[in-house]
């Protein structure tokens, strides 16, 4: 054969360059880079020309600078924002307004991600249930919310549900819980932290350290004796004990809060207040007030007049502490709220109320200011590290507790329901991706159904769930920009107002895009990190 073919066999001939895979690869890459570079250059030139024409980045002295373009951020915004985590008023700058918007976006995203995950996981597991009703309810939920546009859902929730809630006086209380649904949105109880919370916190940390030590100690003992000592239970129980002791110690050592009251009232301690109020009412027992009002012996006006009148600073912890104790004792009260302590003192001096509530050191200072200070005594009020503030209608507003405005409630509920439907499908797919053999092996080894789910199925399902879940979290973060439709002041809503007022479109878009990019990259960084941690080891 060799003699018959003088040329080397096929494959050993030199390859022409247009058929050489290595050369083709390099050429394709060079061509691609050139295309990208040309495209980018065209875009940049376009932007640059337009910026030059608009004068967006012109400084006061006529030169162009990227930094000068953002000087408008320190100008007064002059628009109001309905809700904010940080202090804001219209005389603050555009920059601060945008920060308020960014914080609102983060608030709705973080809460939305947490709630959508809970809802989605439950719905996903429910869809796999063998119970016909449970699995079909989950299926209908998923199908409905996945197949209708989010914007439509938001409008429906806002205009069709929340704004149709009753007026504030007729607020709905579902299941008799202290949660109020009204046109003002959703009001529910929330914790208020007292000054003594710091002491309790110290106890909690101490308890954690102590529980860890107990756990390690019992672990060592287990090693020696080879006997299971339920160390997990002991660790939790000892932590709870320390937390409980800390609660009472923090409550009893704290004597920072008090009320300022005239000596003439003969109130010497908290328990005297009941007699004071009862003396002004036509009943013998505070429990009879409701029946007295019901059968007309006591009018609402008389009750209000007889109630304990309190002056305090708006949302002050000492006021929450005091009123929650009054509520427990059943003593009717009326609160006169001021923005600052000196205003509260003025109201007190003017005779608007009988007691002034604040910290005792503040009360001592205020007493010196008052003319009749000598006739006033400061009475310490007991406190616990945390008090629940329950919403209460005062006039035309709810006071106390956590408040979700109609706009915030609409965007939060909308995002949670919509994203939850997608997460439900992801969770279902994840669980179904775990081979049946895993379940059989777990059962054959005697693991209970909950152990099987927790120790065998879910850890494996997580690997399938995390990557698409990341996309859903990102979708939720980006979809939060639809908040503008229901009037929630998120980043985009505020940026849009800023853009209209200032006319700095290029800068505003740069800021908004950078902000959303930062939020999205943070989310995907966190989830990618988690995904790497749980990924399977093979080979």
């Amino acid at each position: 054969m060799a003699e018959l073919s003088p040329t080397p066999p096929k494959g050993q001939q030199p390859i022409p360059f247009w058929r050489d895979g290595r050369v083709i690869g390099v050429l394709a890459q060079i061509a691609f880079v050139i295309l990208v570079a040309l495209g980018t250059a065209w875009l940049l030139r376009n932007v640059n020309d337009n910026i030059g024409a608009l004068g967006s980045f012109r400084c006061a002295d006529g030169t162009e600078s990227f930094r000068c373009g953002f000087n408008f951020l320190s100008i007064d915004a002059q628009f109001d924002i309905s809700e904010s985590i940080i202090q804001y008023n219209p005389s603050d700058s555009y920059g601060r307004a945008l920060v308020v918007g960014a914080l609102n976006t983060i608030k709705v995203t973080v809460l939305g991600v947490i709630l959508a995950t809970i809802l989605g996981t439950l719905a996903g597991i429910a869809r796999l249930s063998t119970n016909w009703l449970v699995s079909n309810l989950a299926k209908w939920y998923v199908d409905f919310f996945r197949n209708t546009p989010l914007l439509l859902q938001l409008f429906f929730i806002y205009f069709g549900v929340i704004l149709l809630f009753p007026a504030i006086q007729d607020a709905v209380q579902p299941f008799g819980l202290p949660i109020f649904l009204s046109q003002r949105g959703i009001n529910m109880p929330g914790p208020v932290f007292m000054p003594s919370f710091a002491i309790w916190m110290a106890f909690l940390i101490l308890g954690l350290i102590q529980a860890q030590v107990t756990w390690l100690f019992l672990g060592r003992q287990e090693q020696q004796t080879g006997r299971n000592s339920n160390r997990g239970w002991w660790a939790v129980a000892s932590f709870l004990l320390v937390a409980l002791i800390g609660w009472y110690v923090a409550g009893s050592t704290a004597d920072s809060q008090g009320i300022l009251v005239a000596r003439a009232t003969r109130v010497r301690e908290f328990s005297d207040i009941e007699a004071l109020v009862l003396g002004r009412l036509p009943v013998d027992n505070l429990n009879d007030i409701d029946t007295a009002v019901a059968d007309g012996r006591l009018t609402q006006e008389d009750l209000t007049a007889a109630s304990l009148h309190i002056c305090s600073v708006q949302d002050d912890p000492s006021q929450v502490n005091f009123t929650s104790q009054l509520r427990r004792a059943g003593i009717p009260y009326v609160v006169n709220r001021s923005d600052r302590l000196d205003q509260a003192t003025e109201a007190y001096a003017a005779g608007d109320c009988e007691v002034l509530v604040a910290t005792r050191s503040a009360l001592a200072a205020e007493r010196n200011v008052l003319e009749n200070g000598a006739n006033l005594s400061i009475i310490p009020i007991a406190e616990t590290p945390v008090r629940m503030a329950v919403p209460r209608i005062e006039g035309l507003n709810f006071v106390g507790g956590i408040k979700l405005t109609p706009s915030f409630a609409a965007i939060l509920i909308g995002l949670v329901l919509y994203t939850g439907a997608f997460i439900a499908e992801i969770v279902r797919a994840g669980i179904q991706s775990v081979p049946k053999g895993q379940t059989e092996a777990a059962r054959a080894l005697g693991l209970s159904e909950s152990q099987r789910l927790r120790l065998v199925v879910l850890p494996q399902a997580m690997r399938v769930i995390i990557p698409p879940l990341t996309s859903q979290y990102l979708n939720l973060a980006k979809n939060s920009s639809l908040a503008i439709a229901v009037g929630f002041a998120d980043l985009w809503a505020i940026a849009y107002t800023t853009l209209n007022q200032s006319g700095r479109s290029v800068q505003v878009f740069i800021i908004v895009m950078a902000a959303y990019l930062t939020l999205s990259l943070t989310i995907s960084f966190l989830l990618n990190w988690y995904n790497r941690r749980i990924s399977l080891v093979e080979r």
Binding site: E222, A441, A444, L447, L455, R463, V537, E538
Partner: protein, 257 residues
Amino acid sequence: MTTMNVTTAPTNTEEVIICSEVHKWYGDFHALRGISLTVKKGEVIVILGPSGSGKSTFIRCINRLEEHQQGDIVVEGTTLNYDVRNIAEIRREVGMVFQQFNLFPHLTVLENITLAPIHVRKWTRDHAEDRAMHWLTRVGIPEQANKYPGQLSGGQQQRVAIARTLTMEPNILLFDEPTSALDPEMIKEVLDVMRDLATEGYTILAVTHEMGFARTVADRIIFMDAGQIVEENTPENFFTNPNNERTKLFLNQILHH
């Protein structure tokens, strides 16, 4: 061992598995048609039969991986019924080895083995790891303890699965075609382990196609066809002098291919 809710007649303590008239349907398909079998303590039983004859279904009924619809199964005095406590009790005492190993891929070999002892038997981690290493040494791969299943060969994985089952200290072992998914040269290492176990007093029910194993190790051979036991014989008689026509056909097929 406590016996609760035993609804059948008093059992001989020597008879650890009693099946009587067990029926199972998959929809309209009648998979098991009245299986009756009594297994004595320490017996090694090999179940043979053509594919689809219900061998696997039958042994999977014994630890309730499949539910039987008629008849009684009593394992070590505990009746297998809808009482979840009985099911849990039986699963604790009956170990199973699968064709596809079914190791947990997200756990190391050691974690695979200690998972059930810690969470079901409530052993301490140290005791569980101690026993796990004992059994890993017995099956010859103690050095693989900290690897993940994906890093092991098929034969090694099946030996880990056997160690995982044995660490739970069951009295009864069910083998569901343990060598069918293995490369030929790995079959021997798994069969050697099974042979050792057979001589140590475990009660064994094995579904397998390894005729050599059946002939040398089994105390009794059960031949199943179409959901019924058609022949029950000693290995000696089964291979040399089978009673049933279907058995003869089967042996012809596999011995002269």
